[in-house]
């Protein structure tokens, strides 16, 4: 009987449990495919993404060009694949930046009573700005570059993570095992990381998937508006932006990068929903 006892709701393998949720599983599979496509872009693409072919400009989708060509005769399929690298990378790094800032602020606000009011007001103030406006303002102030777009979006999304972390920290701070840890001489930074942060990971993971999706959208939005990453680096947003001028004559220029965004964001949202259902004990009962 040693160690074989398992209590409901505590099965160790999250992936196995995800299998029981078809929509979440679909999200995960699509996400893996998109990520692989982006990673393997140099091998999968049929043309070099920057290769010009003026003769073949604005060719509709067909056997030679799977998704057609753009106004400079570049292969859309290859560019969508390569853009995926940038877009996913931006999304990933934005989640990273937002997590670092958000976790730090959230832990401070949730754990130390005196810091709560000032930090929470700061979070509220940041959330009062419309996301995209704040991002534009930050990019305008910092200068348009890939790094600055990532930083700006990271700052924009940090308050959401901070709120989630703060709320969970407020609860966990009062739990007996935190008091027990303190009574046994565990230093505060260790309590924060080992005992509080580790127990916040589930809601954090759920939020992170949503922020990933939003960051991809926001990056596309910024690029479309021309304040994002410079147009010579292909991203889904810049592709849609250039395609807009040819919307009536060559709709495929916008269609395929747009589809890529829709599919990726939808997959992330489905996965996020599934994770939330699995990781929230109040919702987990009806599985």
């Amino acid at each position: 009987m040693a160690g074989a006892v398992s209590v409901a709701g505590q099965e160790p393998n999250l992936l196995m449990r995800l299998m029981s949720r078809p929509t979440a599983l679909a999200g995960l599979v699509v996400l893996v495919v998109v990520t692989l496509a982006a990673l393997l872009a140099p091998w999968l693409s049929t043309h070099a993404p920057g290769q010009l072919s003026i003769v073949n400009r604005l060719t509709p989708p067909g056997s030679a060009y799977l998704m057609g060509t753009d106004d400079l005769g570049r292969d859309i399929f290859s560019r969508v694949l390569h853009s995926g690298r940038t877009s996913l990378m931006v999304g990933f790094l934005v989640v990273g930046v937002a997590s670092v800032i958000g976790i730090f602020l959230g832990l401070i606000a949730g754990f130390f009573r005196k810091a709560d009011a000032p930090v929470s007001r700061l979070i509220d103030a940041m959330m009062a700005f419309p996301d995209i406006l704040l991002a534009i303002a930050l990019v305008a102030a910092l200068g348009a570059s890939a790094t600055n777009v990532i930083l700006a979006l990271g700052i924009v999304y940090a308050p959401r993570l901070a709120r989630v972390v703060r709320a969970s920290t407020l609860v966990i701070r009062e739990l007996p095992y935190v008091e027990a840890a303190r009574a046994l001489g565990v230093p505060t930074p260790v309590i924060l990381v080992r005992h509080v942060l580790r127990n916040v990971t589930s809601p954090l993971l759920v939020q992170a998937t949503f922020i990933f999706a939003q960051a991809i959208l926001a990056e596309a939005g910024l690029s479309f508006l021309g304040v994002g990453i410079s147009p010579d680096i292909p991203t889904w947003g810049t592709m849609i932006s250039t395609g807009r001028q040819f919307m009536s004559t060559a709709g495929w220029m916008m269609l395929f990068p747009g589809l890529a965004i829709v599919v990726t964001v939808l997959a992330l949202q489905l996965l996020g929903d599934g994770l939330r259902d699995l990781l929230d004990p109040r919702l987990a009962k009806d599985i």
Binding site: V5, S6, E179, A180, V186, P187
Partner: protein, 338 residues
């Protein structure tokens, strides 16, 4: 620094822990004094709100705002025979003390362990926090501790998560964590309250055995007089933030020198005593009324409104803690008549 008799490990002197807000001051602990001898167990007994838990938290330096120590001394002798006044200690000084010199176990074994780490991990964490040991060494020591607290099949249990264990087992793990660095003082805040009676007896047994083995002193906070009889050498009875009676355990059970203690004992259900010879069940005695709010104590003896023996003098001024026979104290004007 004030001196401490060589055989005394902890001496609380006139401790006052008050909670002060704009509207009132709650004197949760008001002038508590007691000594704990090396290798002995002192039980602090009282109802909810009597100040017994705040006393133990004060010793640990864990009283949170708006509470704080308003006066008094908490003298503690560490392993190196140095005497510290815990009432004056800085937060940094306390961190060095907790876990290493003084450890604490709590009432809720079900939630006192972090659900995300194995018990071996958590005991190991305690050891590596306070002593410079390798991971393997910490794990080996954790296993030893699990064996000390008599968890069967300890080798396999080391990698169990808390949810795989019962309440009694988890309390054993808590004890293992608390004793991992061999502290000289263990504070046990109602460690058996949440457990079944049979498990209670096992845990008390274990604590007694470990006390012999490790030689630590135990400050045992409880409201259960049955538990006190099992484990304590000396008993302190608290009421409304003050000590009302103190005596060696056998003397206390033989004869109570304060009407509150007498009442507490009469309240304990008793299988034989409560049934008359005719087989009729007698009503269980209860002390009338309830503990007065600590912000609104009567001018005289805090227990006077509920006491059958109270006279005019009791209601006038608060009685002092007086000698009431050899080695015992009582805060009652009429203790001689009891």
């Amino acid at each position: 620094m004030t001196t401490l008799p060589a055989d005394t490990i902890l001496s609380v002197r006139d401790l006052r822990t008050w909670f002060t807000t704009k509207r009132f001051t709650a004197k949760a602990v008001d002038g508590v004094t007691f000594d704990l001898k090396r290798g002995e167990t002192l039980a602090v007994v009282g109802e909810s709100g009597s100040g017994k838990s705040v006393t133990s938290l004060s010793i640990m330096g864990l009283v949170s705002k708006p509470g704080g120590i308003a006066g008094g001394e908490i003298l503690f002798r560490d392993r190196k025979e140095r005497v510290h006044d815990l009432a004056q200690l800085t937060p940094k000084g306390f961190r060095a003390m907790r876990g290493r010199e003084i450890a604490m176990i709590f009432q809720e074994p079900m939630t006192s362990l972090n659900p995300l780490y194995t018990v071996g991990d958590q005991i190991g964490e305690m050891i590596s926090l306070h002593e410079p040991v390798s991971r393997q060494e910490a794990r080996k020591r954790a296993l030893e501790m699990l064996k000390h607290v008599e968890i069967p099949d300890a080798e396999n249990r080391l990698d169990d998560y808390p949810h795989q264990m019962s309440g009694g087992m988890r309390q054993r793990v808590m004890i293992a964590m608390a004793l991992a660095c061999n502290p000289s003082l263990l504070i046990a805040d109602e460690p058996t309250t949440a457990l079944d009676v049979t498990i209670q007896a096992q845990i008390l047994d274990l604590l007694r055995r470990l006390q012999k083995q490790f030689g630590m002193s135990i400050l045992f906070v409880t409201h259960n007089l049955g538990v006190v009889a099992e484990i304590a050498h000396e008993v302190v009875v608290m009421y409304a933030g003050r000590v009302v009676e103190q005596a060696p355990v056998n003397d206390l059970f033989a004869r109570q020198k304060h009407p509150y203690t007498k009442g507490l004992l009469a309240c304990t259900p008793h299988a034989k005593r409560d049934i008359t010879e005719a087989g009729v069940r007698k009503a269980l005695y209860s002390i009338t009324g309830s503990v007065p709010p600590i912000t609104d104590l009567p001018p005289g003896c805090a227990f006077a409104p509920r006491c059958d023996l109270a006279v005019e003098a009791c209601r006038a001024v608060p009685p002092a803690l007086m000698e009431a026979g050899a080695g015992r104290l009582s805060r009652c004007l009429r203790s001689n008549e009891l």
